[in-house]
Subunit: 403 residues, 2 copies
């Protein structure tokens, strides 16, 4: 019997307890040992839980209990998750987490502590919910040089964009619906401003390219400014607007961005990832394009990934997984302005000739009344910024086109 | 340094040698040891290969060489692959193969030999080419009860169907083009009659549900009888025709089928898997739907999966992977006639009323001249067979609708 603790009995944490109880027999068979939830840390009371007698409000009941070998962290947020996880590792316990904020901010440090003590710090659930992505990526990486990862990493914004695209629902209504359905928080900034996607692309880029990438190194734009008119103009070029997180190898450095991008329906399977689903495309030198798809969030899918990590840890107790990356560096991520892109630009009171003067050989997508929508050629982001700046408030919107 | 041998220097085998040479440094780093190709078995001569001095025509040079710890089998076919792989395992060497025919026919026996000698028999490349699918499936399985797997498992037929759907290219022309491009063999039966897909769904079903499934237990229909008229009628219900391999849990037994099916574009991401790509959908009780997508064939993608297995084996030398399944049984797979399905039926000289008399409440998709296309309700396969039999040669075609 292996004793574990769960810190945080919210959506994911209660899902982990539920899956461990529901599939206890098959899990014990797969892990080679029964798994007992000995302690659950939460400040709230859960008198009706079948595990009501395991609850504690005191972290010391977990960190000082030498019987507890694995600690699951599903509290979310950075504090006190960081301090608790660090203390658990330092007291000789392996840690499994679903906390993307923690991994994106402190992954390198926690992996280093785990390595030095021959423990594991596992976080499959932190990206893509239940979709197996970090281990397969690690496996893809074995025989490949991965040079790009691009994905729809946030289910809430993908749900909202799907409503905008397929039902002409304005942004504000789509947000309200997402909140009603429990997909978006009352304070939706982490989703709609791209921070959640930024944390996830940091974790993917850190693993794929071997050095830690911090969220503040990622140029991040959310979907607040995407309008139904943008959606319609994108459809004129056979594209849909998706919030894309992307990391690319650039020599010894990388580029990393989160932004709404136009994805062409004919060319890119990410265009077909609808509703709350996530899709992550990995591009390797040998393997070509590989995509992983599934529910990127939700209680049970995420709990499924956490439990898979716990089972893996029980099977490999005292054997370290290879999962590791080096510390980051301020100049490791090149400024986004050095990257190149094409863009769809919507302009008010600008003639095609004036658009061409600003952006080069543009393709006119539509020209209705005094509103012109054009597709620019591929150009340096810096040049694109200068061109839009030169047109001032005549620019209604500017949305990148995914390669 | 770990010495390995490669049996077969065809498309995949030469790709394995190429990847091992090309990415030697990064592979050594990931495996924790350098990997040396000590022997290559092939009856042909390759004087221009950088590994020309490693070639042998004598299997004994491999099986009797105690320095060789891992043998890669990329010969294809059942004989002498089976005898060679068995002999290698029995002489204490782990084996990595891309040979789906071998795994589908002899997987349980070879896994049992490997288990009894504490060796590994690995075959990630046998399904989905370079797409990591078997390990992630194993991982999905850890916390999930998987109840269905359905996929586009053959790139050649998917390429042909894509040409038929998108370019109105008749079957014969699509086949010729596939042959010209090297996707199809001159004798294309393994692809177009569904045998290749049947082998792959056997491997997936064996792993997911824990008992060996043999190709002759799978009801297998190919795409030879799919016409452009079928493609057009399917489009009237928002669907595309794909060759689907599907296995479903049915209590203690399973159902398993390979057949062309209509996949609805709005409902199922498999509809968007185009060209030579493969897509495999896994449905679990906790995780929901997960899809894996990528190039299902080709020299380098397949070689990439073989090399990933070799690296994994070097890292875990003398440690068995969990990969295993039990022997099969004649009554383990239920007859396909006991399963249920809806179907699109095209009929000549039949009125809607007569169609309704035969199939129940049908939906008329089109009625042009004397050709009627209808969508039947979901019914037992046996009932569907009886209904089409009752209409005799007035039935032009009958194609299942995927759920």
């Amino acid at each position: 019997m292996v004793s574990i603790a769960i810190m945080g009995h919210g959506v994911v944490g209660s899902g982990v307890a539920e899956v461990l109880l529901k599939n206890a027999d098959s899990i014990a068979k797969k892990a080679g040992d029964a798994i007992e939830v000995k302690r659950i840390l939460d400040l709230r009371e859960f008198p009706d839980s079948p595990l009501a007698d395991r609850f504690t409000k005191d972290f010391n009941d977990i960190v000082n209990d030498s019987e507890i070998r694995i600690v699951v962290e599903t509290m979310g947020g950075l504090h006190p998750s960081y301090e608790f996880v660090k203390a658990c590792l330092e007291s000789g316990k392996s840690v499994v987490t679903s906390n993307k904020e923690l991994v994106a901010a402190k992954g390198d440090e926690l992996l280093t502590i785990a390595k030095s003590r021959n423990l594991n710090f596992l976080f499959e659930a932190s990206v893509g919910g239940g979709i197996p992505i970090l281990r397969p990526l690690d496996q893809c990486l074995a025989a490949n040089e991965v040079h790009e990862i691009a994905g729809i990493l946030n289910g809430t914004t993908n749900f909202m964009l799907t409503k905008m695209i397929e039902e002409d629902m304005p942004f504000d209504d789509a947000l309200k619906l997402a909140q009603q359905l429990g997909y978006a928080e009352r304070e939706p900034s982490a989703d709609v401003d791209g921070h959640d996607a930024a944390r996830k692309i940091c974790i993917l880029a850190s693993l794929a390219f071997g050095r830690h990438v911090f969220p503040d190194q990622v140029h991040t734009e959310g979907i607040r400014n995407v309008s139904l008119e943008d959606v319609k103009a994108a459809s004129l070029m056979g594209g849909v607007i998706k919030l894309i997180g992307r990391a690319k190898k650039q020599g010894d450095k990388i580029s990393c961005i989160v932004a709404p991008m136009i994805v062409k329906e004919d060319e890119n399977l990410l265009a077909q990832v609808r509703d709350v689903f996530n899709g992550i495309m990995v591009r390797g030198d040998v393997i070509g394009d590989v995509m992983f798809y599934g529910r990127g969030a939700g209680k049970l899918p995420t709990a499924s990934a956490v439990v898979a990590d716990v089972i893996d840890e029980v099977k490999h107790m005292k054997r370290r997984k290879a999962l590791f990356w080096e510390s980051g560096a301020p100049d490791y991520v090149v400024p986004y302005t050095e990257d190149s892109t094409a863009a769809m630009v919507r302009l008010r009171g600008v003639t095609p000739a004036q658009a061409e003067a600003a952006f080069g050989a543009v393709e006119v997508l539509s020209h209705e009344g005094n509103v012109l929508a054009v597709l620019t050629p591929v150009m340096k982001e810096q040049t694109l910024v200068e061109a839009t700046d030169s047109l001032g408030d005549r620019v209604i919107s500017c949305i990148r086109v995914a390669e």
